[in-house]
């Protein structure tokens, strides 16, 4: 801003006054602004000051002033999201504010050593602003000038970090905490995530697809990573045999929570009415169960997942653009993912699916849209899968049922 509009430092403080932005701090929720201000005052980074000034100006004029461009590191075609200011003459401090996407570890299992290293390197080269995690699942380092990008990446890379996907590439994967911290995990989400992303890492860094392609790995149908709605290929854990019922624990649960809670919160809420009262315990008609996980979530001690565990592959989930939001549909009802060979077979299937999509999709068409356009029949033929009775949009009732308890 010109000195007339914005008397830089005239108030004796590092940051310029931002009266409109300050309103954001008045509500009941924490505001990013408080963090930005604190960081700017501590590090004296002029870049953050410029960004706050530009945002204030944006709020005043009700216009956004960022535009994209092309910035990359050697050997990579993706991973940096470019932001140049359109009003550099007004606010030169916010001239460039690029974002680096970093891949988080499976299940977001960071260790503090790596995070400390990350923060040190990032504060040296960039703004110091870290977003964990963006909508893409990446750890976002926001605010770096183009001239620092390569050096910052090199230093991060030497400490074991890698850039994530952007553009028409395989995107950064996401997985739930999996067997590391959850009893309900039906397969090793962390291992499958790691192996799949390792296999496709070239496609993460070098965009060459019709459009983006996302994998997400959920250990059970609770789908804590929202894979069904947020990924083209969702790996959702499931089991083939019956839910295990420990009726002694059911009795304990009833003693603690009351019979009315069992009836109202568990039995009546079973979407396929598979649970019946039996004496002082319950009985579950396994062939009616759609693995919605509700009863297991409510009575996690008394009920647990079966022993014959594996995963389902659902494809076509996506949000907005073209045909609007879609949930993934069942493509592979059950597959084991225990041995290395299982995982290799899984990757082989993914290769076929991606190859088919790459050959058949229009520009900017997601996997689900391509399947919908050419029909499921053609897709199955193309990727050499046998049609299966379970490949229906809605098996009986909503299997993705969730209720408060």
């Amino acid at each position: 801003m010109s000195t007339k509009d914005n008397p830089s430092n005239s108030n004796g403080k590092f940051l310029n006054p931002t009266p409109i932005l300050d309103d954001l701090e008045k509500g009941p929720w924490p505001s990013f602004l408080t963090g930005f201000k604190k960081l700017a005052e501590r590090t004296k980074k002029t870049m953050i000051r410029g960004v706050l000034d530009q945002l204030e100006y944006s709020y005043k004029t009700k216009m956004g002033y960022w535009k994209g461009g092309l910035v990359s590191v050697v050997g990579y075609g993706a991973g940096i999201i470019t932001r140049y200011s359109l009003i550099q003459d007004k606010i030169p401090e916010a001239k460039e504010f690029h974002t680096m996407r970093l891949q988080p570890p499976p299940g977001l299992h960071y260790n503090t050593k790596m995070l400390r290293e990350l923060c040190d390197i990032w504060e040296k080269h960039g703004s110091g602003i870290v977003c964990m995690h963006g909508q893409t699942g990446d750890l976002m380092l926001q605010g770096v000038p183009e001239q620092n990008v390569q050096e910052c990446f090199d230093e991060l890379n030497r400490k074991g970090w890698d850039l994530g996907g952007a553009g028409a590439s395989v995107r950064t994967g996401a997985s739930c905490v999996g067997p590391a911290r959850c009893d309900d995990s039906c397969y090793d989400t962390l291992k499958v995530h790691y192996e799949v992303l390792k296999h496709f890492t070239g496609l993460v860094h070098r965009p060459e697809f019709p459009y983006k392609l996302k994998f997400k790995f959920a250990g059970c149908p609770n789908d804590c990573v929202n894979s069904i709605m947020r990924s083209d290929i969702a790996f959702i854990g499931t089991f083939r045999d019956a839910i295990k019922v420990d009726n002694a624990e059911v009795k304990n649960w009833v003693q603690k929570n009351g019979m009315d809670s069992l009836v109202n919160n568990v039995i009546n809420r079973c979407p396929t009415k598979a649970i019946t009262l039996k004496g002082e315990g319950i009985e579950i008609e396994d062939k009616d169960c759609v693995r919605c996980m509700h009863c297991i979530n409510v009575m996690s001690k008394a009920l647990s997942i079966g022993s014959d565990k594996g995963l389902s592959l659902l494809m076509g989930g996506k949000s907005h653009l073209k045909v609007g939001s879609m949930l993934g549909s069942m493509i592979v009802p059950f597959v084991k993912a225990e041995t290395d060979e299982d995982i290799e077979n899984l990757i082989e299937l993914l290769e076929r699916i991606i190859e088919w999509w790459d050959d058949n999709a229009f520009d900017h068409e997601r996997l689900g849209e391509t399947i919908e356009r050419v029909s499921l029949k053609e897709f199955l033929k193309g990727v050499e899968l046998e049609p299966d009775i379970n490949m229906v949009n809605t098996p009986r009732d909503n299997p993705y049922f969730k209720a408060e308890f």
Binding site: L70, V74, G77, A78, G167, G202, E208, F209, P210
Partner: protein, 111 residues
Amino acid sequence: MSFELNGKSYETDEDGYLLDLDLWSEEVAKFLAEKEDIQMDDKHWEIVNFLREYYREYQIAPAIKILVKEIAARNEMQKKDASAFLYDLFPNGPAVQACKIAGLPKPTGCV
């Protein structure tokens, strides 16, 4: 922005892409390549020429997908290898470097 070469002035956009495609010549390409730290050899020229031919025909730079397929077909390699090969030639990405050297306008779209 602009640059001078052999006494002639060339207008570019802020990222160094030629504004007037007709002014492109091999000398200009070599000059732009040097600025990108790229030593042009036959393989580079093949891609640059392909990009120009494609642009002449369709008035748009090819999607990377098409470029990778073309390279795979010409060099009889797998698509995966073709993509790595492309980045060996143009380490900062074909969109950023090859298009600039070929005198094409800056690729748009969500990259």
